[in-house]
Symmetry: C2
Subunit: 144 residues, 2 copies
DNA sequence: GCTTGACTTCAAGTGAGCTTGAATTTCTAG
DNA sequence: CTAGAAATTCAAGCTCACTTGAAGTCAAGC
């Protein structure tokens, strides 16, 4: 059983295109040994790293943020389950925050439709005379 | 009380930069009358339209999708509260779906860490011999 | 009338996250 | 050994959602 995998195999198993894998390597997100002829040879553990990247992207991290997270992994050894869990633990909060935001938006949608912004009747009452116009400049105060 | 507002005023009240407002107009998301000299004059109701755009973006719609939604509004008259509610009603489902996805991701994070992808111990048991590799090609089957 | 600031258009630039194409080299099966 | 599949690098291109800059016009106060 070979210990390393060529790029096409990693691409096939992860569902991530080879061009993207090269891009990730360039950005330092993954690493590959090289064959005698200079072709990439990925460790099996790279698959988990890629899974982590996809996961992180799904919950809204940029590649740069993912790189920062992955940089926290131990250098010498293959990461353990504990290593991964430590990395991902902090994300629960992030997911919760995003869920809370979406719930807030849904509230706005069914109720006031985003009080102070989208309502036609209610918010005219609470905000007579287009008072928001007097608040001065400020970026995107409607939505944060 | 003037019935229309210049671009800077709309920018100030909405928190959206003038360049973005011009961009939105170009894409047909908002509309402006023109002064004798060719300057944009926005109706007050444009503010609500912009709020709608920001709201839609927050829940993940592209500008193109927002344009499609806004195209459903009645042409002749200023949209009523009912018009807006009708537009935004369908989004509750979308928000719910996104929340459900995030909850699923959170599950994977605390439990198996995305079974079939991130676990080290458990998924080796349920998926011995790297079976995922035998499933053939397919894009991003890990995360959908 | 003049100055100043707000506004105009149009083209080009930005950044994230890749993809595509060209020219070339390496690997593998027969 | 050879054909052809798979890999390489490098530069350029793409989508989205804007921003920036240049060059010029409009509007309002003195």
């Amino acid at each position: 059983m070979e210990t390393t995998l060529p790029i096409a195999e990693i691409a096939r198993r992860s569902g991530v295109r080879a061009s993207a894998l090269r891009f990730y390597e360039e950005r330092g997100l993954i690493h590959a040994e090289r064959s005698a002829g200079g072709q990439r040879r990925f460790a099996r553990s790279t698959l988990r790293r890629i899974a982590f990247i996809l996961f992180a992207q799904k919950i809204g991290l940029s590649l740069e943020e993912v790189a920062a997270e992955l940089a926290k992994l131990p250098d010498g050894r293959t990461p353990t389950r504990g290593d991964w869990e430590q990395l991902s633990a902090a994300w629960t909060a992030r997911i919760d925050a995003r869920i809370a935001e979406l719930e807030r938006l849904r509230e706005g949608l069914t109720g006031c439709i985003g009080c102070g912004c989208l309502s036609l009747t209610h918010c005219k009452l609470t905000n007579p005379g287009d008072r928001v116009g007097a608040k001065g400049p400020g970026a995107r105060f409607w939505m944060g």
